[in-house]
């Protein structure tokens, strides 16, 4: 589903954030991405979401070489990749429903048609009753679940999460991972960057470890 071939990402100011990274994530696979802060986890996820482009190497998602995608095809690609962030990135002046509906609006769906889809996504993360609440009135865990609902509402085949539980206590973190597990079970490919080594250990999924931009380990047991 996701294929990195000798991918390097260099920032002019900082040098290489990713160095010669190669791996393949199969369709429907769920994997964790770990490593110290600054190891390049966010950079790797941003490359997959085509928020940035690799300096060198080849990167393809669902068989599509991202280097071959022009400016006009980027939006389409992003609709097929759901992204979740540590800081949620919700719009504070829009209620939960409106926040979750953004990907559908981006895909050109008429506002009148998207209610069902948005509520289904909210139902999955257990927030149906909060659809009219503003994100700022929610707890951190609830906000993260809104972010997850937004990532899955358009039913992308790939979900990327960048330290989704970074701010959450262990119980809430487990809840979030439980959600991911359920998406995994319905066939979504997931790549989750996290520091939460304990949780990773209990889950027994594949783990990719980055160290200073290099992929240094690829297993569930490192």
């Amino acid at each position: 589903m996701i294929r990195f071939e000798h991918v390097t990402k260099r920032y002019a100011e900082r040098g290489d954030a990713l160095r010669d990274v190669s791996f393949t994530l199969e369709p429907g696979e769920m994997a964790f991405l770990t490593g110290h802060s600054g190891a390049g986890k966010s950079t790797l996820l941003r490359l997959i979401g085509l928020l940035e482009r690799p300096t060198r190497g080849r990167l393809s998602v669902a068989g599509q070489d991202l280097g071959a995608l022009g400016r006009r095809q980027i939006p389409l690609h992003r609709r097929r990749v759901g992204m979740i962030f540590q800081d949620h990135r919700l719009l504070p002046d829009r209620n939960v429903f409106d926040n979750v509906s953004l990907p559908l609006l981006a895909a050109g769906m008429h506002p009148r048609e998207l209610g069902k889809r948005v509520r289904a996504a909210l139902d999955q993360v257990g927030l149906l009753r909060l659809e009219h609440a503003l994100p700022t009135s929610l707890s951190s865990g609830e906000q993260q679940r809104v972010g997850i609902a937004r990532a899955v509402v358009a039913r992308p085949p790939v979900i990327l999460a960048d330290e989704p539980t970074g701010n959450l206590d262990p119980a809430l973190s487990r809840e979030i991972f439980h959600l991911f597990e359920r998406f995994h079970q319905v066939g979504v490919s997931l790549l989750i960057a996290t520091h939460d080594l304990e949780l990773i250990a209990t889950q027994g999924h594949r783990t990719l470890r980055l160290h200073q931009g290099r992929l240094v380990a690829d297993s569930g047991n490192w």
């Binding site: 199969e26 400016r71 939006p75 990135r89 719009l91 909210l122 999955q124 319905v186 066939g187």
Partner: protein, 397 residues
């Protein structure tokens, strides 16, 4: 790492595109049945919601497109009206910037209307020497009317002149004390058309006369040669002044010539003013929208993140520009309509003094529509300029 993927094979069975997987098929359908909201499968038959993913809406595309735009336009207007003060200030700035060139245009239209009336009778007045009596004046009138370059010559007697003077000036009472009529006999002369109309036509036609072939050749070449060469009003005036009975000739048309030159100048000034103030409108709208984008930066970024096209990201801001432009245009129109209304009575009084029938015109329908369209267009362009840079910043590097 290739070996890795082999050990990961089981995951493949849950892959949506292979529903034939021996175990995952029923399991997945069971799951998705319970969670209708999440089904990444494309074309998985049992998913009710999934079949809605590609509705046959291609046929209703124009309707949907229009609906989306109407929605965006209405949303944007509602947003603008939620901040009436800042919206009002921006709209007022645009309205004033647009009203100035539009007002100049109105002034020009009215002045042109006046000069058009004058053009019709490019008259000149020949004042006779004080000693010349009315009988001689009448003879002269008959004589002059025979000239090819004059159409009509009308005798104005001294009494007529005095009566007219009394009627159209404020000296009526003073004139009552005069025992003697100080006014001379005069002739009102109408040159035969075609004559050189002062201003643009004068320039063009004299150039033509100077640059093109001599009259004889022109007569041969054209089917209908002119009856006579266009009358040069200035030369005619000096010829008439040379008559022994003549005192002096007043060519109203000469004044008209200067007037036309002023009009031409004003027309150029109006264009320049329109260009400069159009630029001002662009700047006002552009800057307002730049601030708006700054304010909604998070929204723009997230829309881009979730796969909105640049067109969709631009859309609300272009609508803001359009609304600002349109509202500013309406404001300018109202300013002008109000001014015309206010000036109507004074102008009527003024033109009454000159015995001219003159209607003060505001903006016509076509001009009003052009004003509104140009204003809206400027708003959209201003929005486009402001939003373009930000949209480019969203592109991956």
């Amino acid at each position: 790492m290739a070996g890795r993927s082999n050990t990961r094979r089981p995951a493949l069975r849950r892959q949506p595109s292979s529903p034939s997987g021996p175990k995952a098929g029923p399991k997945a359908s069971q799951k998705s049945g319970r969670q209708p909201g999440h089904n990444p499968a494309r074309g998985r038959p049992q998913s009710r919601v999934g079949t809605r993913r590609e509705p046959p809406w291609l046929g209703r595309l124009p309707g949907r497109w229009l609906g989306n735009h109407l929605q965006a336009g209405a949303d944007t207007l509602r947003r603008l009206l939620r901040a009436p003060l800042s919206t009002g200030l921006t709209v007022a700035a645009i309205a004033i910037a647009l009203a100035l060139p539009a007002a100049l245009r109105v002034v020009l239209t009215n002045l042109e209307q006046i000069s058009a009336n004058w053009d019709q009778d490019a008259a000149m007045t020949l004042f006779l020497r004080p000693g010349v009596d009315e009988q001689r004046g009448a003879e002269l009138a008959t004589q002059l009317q025979a000239r090819a370059d004059l159409d009509t010559a009308i005798l104005i007697s001294r009494q007529q002149a005095l009566a007219e003077f009394r009627a159209y000036s404020d000296f009526g009472a003073a004139l009552d004390h005069l025992t003697d009529n100080p006014l001379p006999v005069s002739l009102l002369l109408y040159p035969a058309a075609p004559y050189l109309v002062p201003g643009q036509a004068l320039g063009q036609e004299s150039e033509q006369a100077a640059n093109t072939a001599p009259p004889a050749t022109r007569d041969l070449s054209s089917d209908q040669p002119p009856v006579h060469a266009p009358v040069d009003l200035e030369r005619l005036a000096s010829e008439l002044e040379a008559l022994p009975e003549a005192d002096f000739v007043r060519v109203d048309a000469l004044w008209l010539q200067r007037f036309a030159a002023i009009l031409a100048l004003l027309r150029n000034a109006a264009l320049l003013l329109a260009a400069v103030l159009g630029l001002a409108v662009l700047l006002v709208v552009g800057n307002t929208i730049r601030l708006e984008i700054e304010h909604r930066r998070a929204e723009v970024e997230i829309m881009s993140l979730v796969g909105a096209t640049p067109a969709l990201i631009r859309r609300p801001f272009l609508y803001i520009g359009a609304w600002y432009g349109l509202l500013g245009g309406l404001g300018a129109w109202l300013l002008i309509a109000a001014s015309v209304l206010l000036l109507h009575a004074p102008v009527e009084r003024l033109t009454g003094l000159y015995d001219t029938r003159f209607d003060l015109h505001g903006l016509g329908l076509a001009e009003s529509l052009i004003l509104l369209a140009a204003a809206t267009g400027l708003g959209i362009v201003g929005g486009w300029i402001a939003v373009g840079r930000h949209v480019r910043q969203l592109e991956p590097r």
